[in-house]
């Protein structure tokens, strides 16, 4: 059974609630909360200009820092930009825009993470990109690299092979494959 709380403007379920129902309830509440918070009566799926400006500013300062070789700050800026996008954007804003924005920013974050040796973070972001359907050789190159650095040799080879199946003549992937094979041979005595 569903209950509606007038004060918080949220619904909740009582009794045995299925996992899928819980997710639906959470989504309805998120939508309601952001609708209630919306001040503009004529809102559209167009992303809000002010949040876009904020996110863009953060991102650009990140890029500037990167150019000036202040990599830790750059990483922090871009991570914040992504967090901002997650928090400030309303759930009804166009998905395509939100997705592209996130993918774009994540790619930069991944490269910065890899350069600074934060391989596990990079791996998580790479997996996220893969989950959003961005199955491309560049992703597989970086994933193989991160996994090799983390010592996960079997998985590195598996992802490298997947990359090669997308682009069999990719030079970087071929080089990474040799590296995987060499290290696996040593691993297996």
């Amino acid at each position: 059974t569903l209950q509606y709380d007038i004060n918080t403007k949220k619904i909740s379920g009582s009794g045995t609630v299925l996992e899928s129902q819980e997710i639906n309830i959470a989504q309805i509440n998120a939508l309601t909360q952001s609708l209630v918070a919306e001040s503009n009566p004529n809102f559209t799926p167009q992303p809000h200009d002010d949040s876009t400006k904020l996110i863009k500013n953060l991102f650009e300062s990140g890029l500037k820092n990167a150019k000036q070789n202040r990599l830790p700050e750059a990483l922090k800026n871009i991570t914040l930009a992504i967090e901002m996008a997650q928090r400030k954007r309303a759930p009804w804003e166009a998905f395509a825009v939100q997705l592209q924005e996130m993918q774009f920013m994540l790619r930069h974050k991944i490269d910065l993470s890899l350069v600074q040796g934060k391989y596990l973070d990079a791996l998580q972001d790479l997996d996220m990109l893969l989950n959003t359907g961005l199955v491309q050789p560049e992703i597989m190159i970086r994933k193989t690299d991160a996994l090799l650095k983390l010592g996960q040799l079997d998985q590195a080879r598996i992802d490298c092979e997947r990359g090669l199946s997308l682009q069999p003549q990719n030079v970087k992937l071929k080089a990474l494959m040799l590296e995987c094979t060499r290290r696996l041979a040593n691993y297996n005595g």
Binding site: N131, V135, D154, I158, R162, L164, S165, L166, N188, G189
Partner: protein, 608 residues
């Protein structure tokens, strides 16, 4: 309105005899067949000497390490499923035939029946001719007999009684001849069984009067009511519910629907681990039926106890643990099947890893290849080792003395056992993988290719042999008609995989090799798993120690000496309708050991 009852016991013996024989004859044939077939060449035996040698070596270590408790459990477990001499079927057969014999005896002794039988008219026996006699033979037989029995031809010395008998016999002979030759008489004979036309026939009930009319009749009614109203429905409903309650793979429908639910609600953000699979297993309905007093968390605890080889002081809990672990075999196979149906590679892969963990009672640690070995001192192992040793292959790069230090084994005999197990665990090496269409040089549009994998089974102790060292001829397929008709027959020629080294698993089991096929493009599985149970492990008996052989050359390596294994996997769907390359990911894993499994990409080149 008035029925004749079987007071003289003429008919009911035949009725009972028919019922008995209807059941006994097929049952006896089946049992005899099973007995004969069971002795010669069943699923269990293998006469490959190398395979037997490896099995013996592993069994020796296995038997030394299996706990007495597990052995006791196996005795109880095996006895439940045992089909000994003294089982129900055999008793039924013996008792049944005994009853048949006694009824036949009774029939023979029953005068009324004998009398009725002799009353039957058999013209062939009267004329003393065979059933297949033609008209000429019948005529000549009649002439000969009539000569003997004709009243005018009879001898004068006979007494009146003897004369009457002879005259009667002559009448019979004439009748018999007419029954076979004269049209009208023949018709009578065929229709009524007697040349004189319809004889006296009686209709009755094949039961004595007292059972139907008198004292026994309520008993008979009660018997039928019990049979039709109680016994029959009981057995039918029991069988029906049993069929309904279990899926084709042998797991309970509730368990299967739980797994399906988990897979439907599977979130890609969830990292699949062995702990997750164990958690799913602990919800199995089979466990609840075995032990209704335990909760799901208890089952999960028992499984983790097994993985960590925790000592259990309580005997009942120990037996519960064995039973649960033994059941995991079919549950995991069921889950594997379901996850392949949902095309989920991660779950299927992790299910196979969980299988290995449960068989070997080893948690999914990075050192699991080492921990599956016997006598390993885990504490000493984690404290020592300068160089990271995670694999058996790496372990065998060290001399035996160093190995004993790394694994913390001081006893000479124990070390020998450990090394025996380590060197007899099959390692898989891919030599060649391709898609083949029997009879065609390449894969054409919309053809039905199958995947042909050539692999080398080697020991972790052996020096690595690159695939290039094996000439192409060794990996060629026979192109004869037999092969084209059934390319998978070659796999049946291999011997059965031996019993595994698995002293912590409650039942004795054979190794298996499970193959999964998926698409690289979307990363999802394509078809149900294929389990291989036949593969020659001959190469494991070879002496090819990597510590002694520095380089491969013509002296120490001859490719012909090595056995190349073949795995053929049928594809569930035909080749695509357009030319191009399709990339498949193939996973080939052992179900029982942590070893070097195969996980490779193979391209299907579809050409016009």
């Amino acid at each position: 309105q008035s029925y004749e009852y079987d007071e003289s016991s003429e008919t009911w013996p035949f009725f009972v005899l028919t019922l008995l024989l209807m059941v006994l004859i097929p049952l006896t044939i089946l049992q005899v067949h099973k007995l004969l077939l069971g002795k010669s060449g069943g699923v269990d035996d293998t006469d490959d000497p190398d395979q037997n040698l490896i099995q013996k070596q592993l069994e020796n270590v296995n038997d030394a390490l299996v706990s007495r408790d597990v052995l006791r459990f196996r005795q109880v477990f095996d006895r439940k499923g045992k089909r000994g001499i003294l089982n129900v079927k055999n008793v039924v057969i013996v008792v049944g035939w005994f009853l048949v014999a006694s009824i036949v005896q009774r029939v023979m002794n029953n005068d009324a029946i004998v009398e009725a039988a002799t009353g039957l008219f058999d013209p062939y026996s009267i004329l003393s001719v065979s059933i297949n006699a033609n008209d000429r033979e019948i005529k000549s037989a009649y002439r000969k007999l009539s000569v003997k029995f004709h009243p005018d031809k009879l001898s004068k010395d006979l007494s009146p009684e003897e004369r009457t008998v002879m005259e009667e016999a002559y009448v019979q002979i004439t009748k018999a001849y007419e029954a076979l030759t004269d049209e009208l008489t023949k018709e009578n004979f065929l229709r009524y069984g007697h040349p004189d036309g319809p004889q006296n026939t009686t209709h009755g009930i094949a039961l004595p009067r007292f059972l139907v009319d008198g004292v026994g009749s309520p008993l008979v009614v009660l018997f039928y009511v019990a049979l039709l109203g109680v016994i029959l429905p009981y057995f039918v409903s029991k069988w029906w519910s049993k069929t309904q309650l279990h899926t084709k793979k042998g797991i309970h429908v509730k368990t299967a629907s739980y797994f399906v639910d988990r897979l439907i609600n599977y979130k890609p953000s969830e990292v699949v681990t062995v702990d997750l699979i164990i958690n799913w297993l602990s919800h199995a309905e089979e466990f609840k039926i075995f032990y209704p007093e335990f909760k799901q968390s208890d089952f999960e605890g028992l499984l983790h106890d097994h993985l960590n080889r925790r000592e259990e002081p309580d005997k009942a809990r120990r037996y519960a643990r064995y039973r649960i672990v033994a059941k995991c075999h079919s549950l995991l196979h069921g889950l594997l099947d379901i996850s392949c149906g949902f095309r989920n590679t991660d779950i299927a892969n992790m299910t196979l890893e969980t299988f290995k963990c449960i068989v070997q009672a080893v948690p999914h640690s990075p050192y699991r290849q080492i921990f599956q070995l016997p006598h390993v001192d885990r504490k000493k192992f984690s404290e020592g080792s300068i160089d990271e040793v995670c694999t058996l292959g790496k372990l065998f790069t060290y001399e035996d003395a160093k190995i004993s230090k790394i694994l913390g084994i001081s006893d000479e005999k124990n070390l020998k056992e450990t090394l025996t197990v380590a060197s007899n665990i099959p390692n898989l090496k891919l030599l060649k993988a391709e898609f083949l269409v029997p009879g065609e040089p390449q894969v054409t549009l919309a053809s039905t290719p199958h995947l042909s994998i050539k692999l080398l089974i080697r020991s972790a102790k052996h020096k690595a042999i690159p695939a290039e060292n094996f000439p192409q001829e060794m990996m060629e397929e026979p192109q004869d008609f037999e092969f084209q008709k059934d390319p998978f027959a070659v796999m049946l020629k291999e011997p059965l995989l031996p019993y595994s080294y698995a002293p912590f698993f409650p039942t004795k089991r054979r190794d298996g090799i499970c193959c999964l096929v998926g698409l690289q493009k979307d990363g999802k599985l394509l078809q149900t798993p294929v389990t291989i149970q036949r593969l020659s492990l001959k190469n494991l008996t070879k002496d090819f120690d990597k510590r002694q052989i520095k380089e491969l050359n013509n002296d120490n390596f001859k490719p012909e000496d090595w056995e190349i294994g073949t795995i053929k996997i049928p594809l569930g769907q035909p080749a695509p309708n357009e030319t191009g390359d399709v990339f498949f990911r193939v996973i080939v894993k052992s179900t029982d050991y942590f070893t070097s499994d195969l996980d490779f990409t193979v391209a299907m080149q579809v050409r016009d």
